[in-house]
Symmetry: D2
Subunit: 346 residues, 4 copies
């Protein structure tokens, strides 16, 4: 079976494993205070042209999301998010566990707009007793979104403006950030991300690392005491080095974006093939996740050999699926898939 169901089916890019092996017997301080963590942080700050930023490394996405939100919000404050946001659908109530409500707005192609943010704030503050509802204080977005789509530079700066006007922090979940930045249609840069967001993270788990997310806190007012919140949530690894070494490997020599670009290329091949098969798509994704709507009959055949994520039945005869590529996707597997698809749809 060939797995196209997610972007974390394999281990790590081999260069990462090599680096872990090379450094393995060095004796280093624990808790993210080793030289590799420091260098990785420095490299990321340079990349983002954000010398004032603070960078921390955390094991996984859910832990990062809950730690960031718990660190920056007071208990009565809520976080705005598209209803399809990862924190709202895949994290078992982790945000509520930390005491906060997720204030959802209906997404369009995975995204929310500055206008939605402003309206929700306006409604909150116009109430006679605003204190009877959670106070909106943060906007959570993903780039790319859960559905592989991207905010344009304009949309991102509009969200920033809406946040400024309403006293909100902007938090970007970049679990798949690289796939977004290297997408063909993307016009957002590292610097845009760092400029627009108070805090964001760069995902390693879904882009070539064994595990790890790099949290970048660009807003200096939010940097103090962040490690307390990390520790309180068990988010400081004793051997922090294993995160530092991985991010250093990914961000020296441009490996991170190369891996992302490869995955996007593989996804584009699949997208084109699906288009040629006259499949329509649930969402117009330019990144490594594709959401074709596939006739059930053909899907059944494909599933003899390929694993996909099932999204949902689309209609009586069709299903929406997710096809995912990654740094590890082999072009020969993609070619074979395309050949099989052609055979089944001609």
């Amino acid at each position: 079976m060939i797995r196209f169901n997610c972007d974390y089916s394999e281990g790590a890019h081999p260069r990462i494993l090599e680096r872990l092996a090379q450094t393995n017997l060095e004796q280093l301080p624990g808790y993210g205070q080793d030289t590799y963590c420091l260098q990785a942080a420095e490299t990321i700050k340079q990349l983002c042209a954000a010398p004032q930023a603070a960078v921390h490394f955390i094991s996984g996405g859910t832990q990062t999301n809950l730690t960031v939100i718990a660190a920056f919000l007071r208990s009565y404050q809520g976080v705005l998010a598209p209803d399809c946001g990862h924190i709202n659908v895949h994290e078992a109530g982790a945000i509520e566990m930390t005491g906060h409500r997720i204030l959802t707005a209906p997404h369009r192609n995975g995204k929310i707009t500055a206008e939605q943010v402003s309206r929700l704030c306006r409604e909150h503050w116009q109430d006679d007793n605003p204190e009877f509802a959670p106070q909106p204080k943060m906007v959570y977005i993903s780039f790319p979104t859960e559905f592989g789509t991207l905010y344009s530079k304009q949309e991102l700066y509009d969200l920033r403006r809406a946040c400024d006007e309403n006293g909100l922090y902007l938090f970007m979940d970049g679990a798949r950030l690289g796939y977004g930045l290297t997408a063909e249609e993307n016009d957002v840069s590292w610097q845009d991300v760092a400029t627009c967001c108070d805090v964001f993270y760069i995902g390693g788990t879904k882009l070539g690392a064994l595990l790890g997310e790099a949290v970048v806190i660009t807003n200096p007012k939010l940097q103090k005491d962040f490690r307390y919140t990390m520790k309180q949530h068990g988010a400081i690894l004793a051997k922090g080095r294993i995160l530092g070494i991985q991010f250093l490997t990914l961000f020296q020599d441009g490996l991170y974006l190369q891996l992302a670009a490869h995955a996007n290329r593989m996804a584009a091949l699949i997208r084109t093939a699906c288009e040629e098969a006259r499949f329509s798509f649930l969402y117009p994704s330019p990144t490594n996740q594709q959401f074709p709507i596939v006739p059930n009959e053909i899907l059944k055949d494909l599933e003899q050999q390929y694993v996909f994520s099932h999204l949902k039945p689309y209609d009586h005869n069709h299903s929406a699926i997710r096809i995912c590529t990654s740094w590890a996707t082999r072009e020969e597997d993609v070619r074979q898939f395309i050949t099989d698809l052609k055979r089944l749809t001609e």
Copy 2:
């Protein structure tokens, strides 16, 4: 500099890195549901003769402690612990963050007794309004303790009895479990641990792994829904395989206990040298952590070349320090330390 300050200064045992590399490109399901996690769980259950147990893998100790305690206690229930317990001194209030009080009892050599447990419960229940204080519901101990000492088999079974009599769960923090089980004076077996505890964990981070703790829930009543609590605390890794593969490597062919025994041997050499130097010890530890009380003058010299954990000033002229060995401690470094110590104390 040679670091004797902790047991997580290096990466992982080389065999673990090899195994990660060998399996790296296999496509596996995520979230701890891969074949390596399943095999590792099976191996651990057999080792403990606890076929009914549930085994889960979590990244680190603080996260494990907070997840276990949050999972098994209702919000008004508290966890009894020695005042020196890791959850009470090194976890930034993680347990309180989950809503629970730590009910501390004064430790003796890092340990609490069945009698202390019973007394604390008696005092709680004899109050006119027991509901005005957190209800004791769990006992947290470490094996070895923070100070390297061990509960005897008798002490462990006594605690179990006290727990049974008072309706408490017994939770053992085994972040350094292997060091305890392989200590010369130890009379506790894997089976004793599994029999006495409702839940315990086997530490990987401090004993040869890159990261990871294996939680063993032996009490069937506590097994349901544990993964919900894990997920809610960000404690399910997407690439769960990296924990499964490591524990499988450690527990096939007895590697785990071999590594622990090596560290204990190295520690014994150091202990003997300290005894010969007529140092006394803060705690009588038979495991990989040693707590000699060292004249400040000698300490200053030693610290030109060795890194220790400072515990505290002992008196005007002495300091209590912690010397820690691990699977990675090289006998030649220990020999050199002993030579230097002899030179300084003769």
Copy 3:
């Protein structure tokens, strides 16, 4: 100005104040363990034909909701509620503060159906990783609803069945319970409520008391340790007597339902007048809250003399308002309102 904006504009029914004065100098035990609390609890249990129930008294609605939900759910469990439910719109995220997500379903006339409950549970459990979302464990409904409407006996038993089939608790917010039970079209009895619900409460604050809600836990499995959770949330009053005395006064001699019936009668007069003025209604309420849609011009005139709750602009020329009666509403004020309304709409 005459206030029709809510049902808690006045103090308490005079008989309550008298009773507080009569008993004022009696020396009584604190914390709800006095004779009046015990008698009130007994009276309520008899009324509900639920001798096995446990009854507790809490100051207000939000505190009751959060205490009940915190007491009965594990942190990873969520509570299903109509999106208009009080816990979702008027409680500042109190439920999330206790760690739980509110799983909302779109209401119809303030209500949710057994079918919605079953569907939401089905979706949860059919997911490949149910533990990635909060586990549904409780259904929260209000009787009457936020919009004054009522569940029929059939609907209530259907919800009970859906709860049984899905392992859920049924929790009824009865902040206005009396208004529902005495409504003309109602076919639900005290016993139905006690039979269908695992826990419910009888509101005093909005029905004649200075403050206070009586929580009735009919499910014996949920009764243990409830006072711990109460205390932990500051929900045990030192002078618990003031709640016991009030509920005893309300429930001896049928005062509670008399007061409710009066308010409903006053509301019916207003409803009829609105119907005669050809106003339509946002919701078809048979209880003390009425939701007429009023031409803005007329509303402006009425507001010279009357205070209403504004719900929202209905269209360009109309507003939906809430008119509320209570035990204290004077018929002469209602008559005057009707006269004024007639004058303005003829």
Copy 4:
């Protein structure tokens, strides 16, 4: 039986009940926004010469403590308190439920010192990894303490200084504040309290009211959004008037301090009688709580007619008890107690 066991055995001072009855049918806005709450707040601010303060009314002490602490601390911050503090011994873990550790220091006569505060902070910040322990951020004291004792003006200003030097808030639990301010030996004034504390509260429940505590936030930086936290913890009463009216009654015409002075006088009579009986005292209290150590034989006799709080067995033949007076304590009961005591001890 005559109850000397606590200061909340009766209802409210009759003048309060009268005032509640007089105002009962007035139609007032809810949620503490009525004229009585506003007037009461104004009166209290004048009394404390703190025109910039914010005043809120909450039902009871535990709820006040948890709301204040939850409002002002970030989750990783802890509150310093004497180990005998109410939040540490009588509140069921309410503070931990809000996510915070109580950092206890051993009390002396119920009090902690500025030096203890400074030392604890120094120890925290000198640690290599301060973020591995909860960050001290608030000091909680009671005035009078749990044992009826008082901080001197000097001690209070010393604590303030220690708080300033360490970036801490000072929070005074004034559940029995009036008893302290009217004690003979007291040299602390309302203004001292307001000047020294960032936040304190004036207890009504234990000093003449049916229920209610008045929270005074003197630090302007802490005032914003406090009502959100109140609401989130169910601490805003719908009929807030009943708190406003009570505090207005207590603070117009000096009633509050008169009631306190009466209770202190009654306690002094009892104290003198105990001294004459050659009882020693567990704590040297000048306020309404007395802690004599009584021969068990005599205690047994007294308990035929009087109810006390048992503190603990003192030695084989003696018990430490608490005798409590209040606004409602009748001098004739005290005289009778003294007579009985004399008879038994002569």
